[in-house]
C-alpha cells in the first residue's frame, strides 16, 4: 500500500544492523563517613588499578533494573536511591590499549575492544549499611574519600567529576537523608552540605535554615563523646517524600 523505495529500505536495514552497541552502567556510589564524602571503588585482580563499580545491561532488561542489580551486588543493600545522570558516549572515551594492558584480562581482546557506551548512575547510600563486595574481576571493594581518589581505569575520574556536578546541581530536590544514618546532629548535616557543595557555610545560618525547613525533629538525646558541647540528635521526620515533580500527562487523542 505505501510506496517505500525498496533499495532505500534495504539500505536502511543494513545501517540499522550496524547500530548495535555494548551498553554498560557505571555507578558512582556516594557515602558519607567521618565528615567526608566517599565513593566505592574496586581494585582489579592482580593489579593496583581501581575503577568504579559497573556492569552490562542484559538484553530486555530495564536499564534502571540493571543499575539496581549491579549496585546491589557491590553494596549488599536492596533498594538503593539511584539517579541516572549522564550518558558517556564519546567515540573515544579513553586509551583502550593502555587500559587493557593495565588490567590484562585473559579474554579475547577483540571482543572487548569495541566502543562501549556507559550510562552514569549515582547512588546515595548510608555508609555504615554497605557491605563492600568485589565482583569476579576485582579483588578489593573499598570506600575512597573523594579527595583521595587516585587515577582510575577508563574514564572513571571524569565520570565521578560529572556525577558530583550533577549531584550538586539537583542538590535541592535530592533526598540527602539516604546518605545519613537514622539519627545525626546538625553540624554533621552541615558538613554533608559543605562537602557536596564544596564551600563552607555559616553554622548559625545553617541551623536557622534547616530548622525552618521543618523536615527535622529533635530527639531528647545528645551525641555523647564529643570534645565539646554535646549536640542534640535529630532525625528526618517520616512521611515527607523529598522528590516530587509536577505531573504532566500526555493528552490521549
Amino acid at each position: 500500500m505505501t510506496e517505500y523505495n525498496d533499495p532505500a529500505v534495504r539500505y536502511y536495514q543494513e545501517v540499522f544492523d550496524q547500530c548495535i552497541h555494548y551498553l554498560s552502567i557505571d555507578g558512582v556510589i556516594f557515602g558519607f563517613h567521618q565528615n567526608q564524602l566517599k565513593v566505592l571503588l574496586l581494585r582489579w585482580k592482580g593489579t593496583d588499578a581501581w575503577s568504579l563499580p559497573g556492569g552490562f545491561i542484559r538484553k530486555a532488561e530495564s536499564v534502571d533494573v540493571a543499575a539496581q542489580r549491579i549496585m546491589q551486588e557491590r553494596t549488599g543493600l536492596d533498594a538503593l536511591y539511584l539517579q541516572q545522570f549522564h550518558v558517556f558516549g564519546e567515540a573515544v572515551r579513553y586509551d583502550q590499549e593502555a587500559t587493557w594492558r593495565k588490567i590484562n584480562l585473559p579474554v579475547d581482546g577483540a571482543k572487548w575492544s569495541e566502543r562501549t557506551i556507559s550510562l552514569g548512575y549515582y547512588a546515595l547510600v548510608e555508609h555504615s549499611k554497605v557491605i563492600p563486595t568485589p565482583d569476579f574481576l576485582t579483588e578489593v571493594c573499598a570506600w575512597w574519600s573523594l579527595d583521595d581518589v587516585p587515577a582510575l581505569l577508563f574514564d572513571h575520574n571524569h565520570i565521578i567529576a560529572v556525577a558530583l556536578l550533577s549531584l550538586r546541581k539537583d542538590f535541592n530536590d535530592q533526598p540527602l537523608n539516604h546518605l545519613l544514618p537514622d539519627t545525626f546532629t546538625i553540624p554533621e548535616l552541615q558538613r554533608l552540605h559543605e562537602t557536596i557543595l564544596g564551600l563552607s557555610l555559616d553554622g548559625r545560618n545553617f541551623y536557622k535554615k534547616v530548622m525552618a525547613s521543618g523536615q527535622l525533629e529533635r530527639l531528647s538525646e545528645r551525641r555523647a563523646g564529643t570534645p565539646h558541647k554535646a549536640p542534640f540528635l535529630y532525625r528526618f521526620k517520616p512521611s515527607e517524600p523529598t522528590n516530587r515533580l509536577p505531573t504532566l500527562e500526555a493528552k490521549t487523542a
Copy 2:
C-alpha cells in the same frame, strides 16, 4: 599471572555477548512561535500516525554527534543547542505489536521487534530558521503546539512530557536565547517563560527582573503592527555565555 577462574571468565563472556542493544535517539525539538511552545513531529508514510524525530546511533559514533546529525537532518540547522535529558530504557516501553500495525513497515518484523533503548535529547531552536524535513520513513514534518500534540507512536508522548519537565528544571541555566529570534519584545520573552514554566507572571515584575539581569539591550525601534502600544525591541547582549559550571577536574596520580 592472575588467577582467573576460567569457567567464570567464559561464562562472563557469554553473558557479555548477550549484552548488546539497539540504541536510538529521540529528539524533542522545541521552538517558540506566536507565543506558543512547539515541537517538531513527523507523520509516517501512508498513515496518520505521528512521532518524534529520531534515529539510530552508528557504531563508533559519539552519541552527541549522532544527536546533532539526526536533528540537523530534520531542521536544516547546523549547530543546534542540544541537551541530553533522559535514557528511556524500560524493558517494555510501549505496545510493540500495536505500533508495528500502525506504521506497517515492509521490513522483517523480527528485526524490529527487539527492545530499543532511547536517549532523549531536547533541542532549543529558533522556530523561523527551521526547515522541517521528513526522513525516508515519513512524509510530513511539522510543528505542533505543545497543547495540541496528538497521541504519538511509541512512548513519545511520555518522552515529550519528560523533556518539558527537564527543560523546566534546568530552566534557569538554560540559554533561552536559542528559542528566540535576534530581536524580540519583553512581553514575548515573558510569554516564553510562562509557557515553559506553565504559569502566568506579573508583567511589571517580570519587566523589572529581566532588566535587572543585565542580559538584554534595548534597540531604538519598536515592534510595529501591534494592536496596542508598540513595545520596544530587545536583543541579548553578545558575550555572556549562559551555561557555566564550576570546573572540577580529576586528580591525576
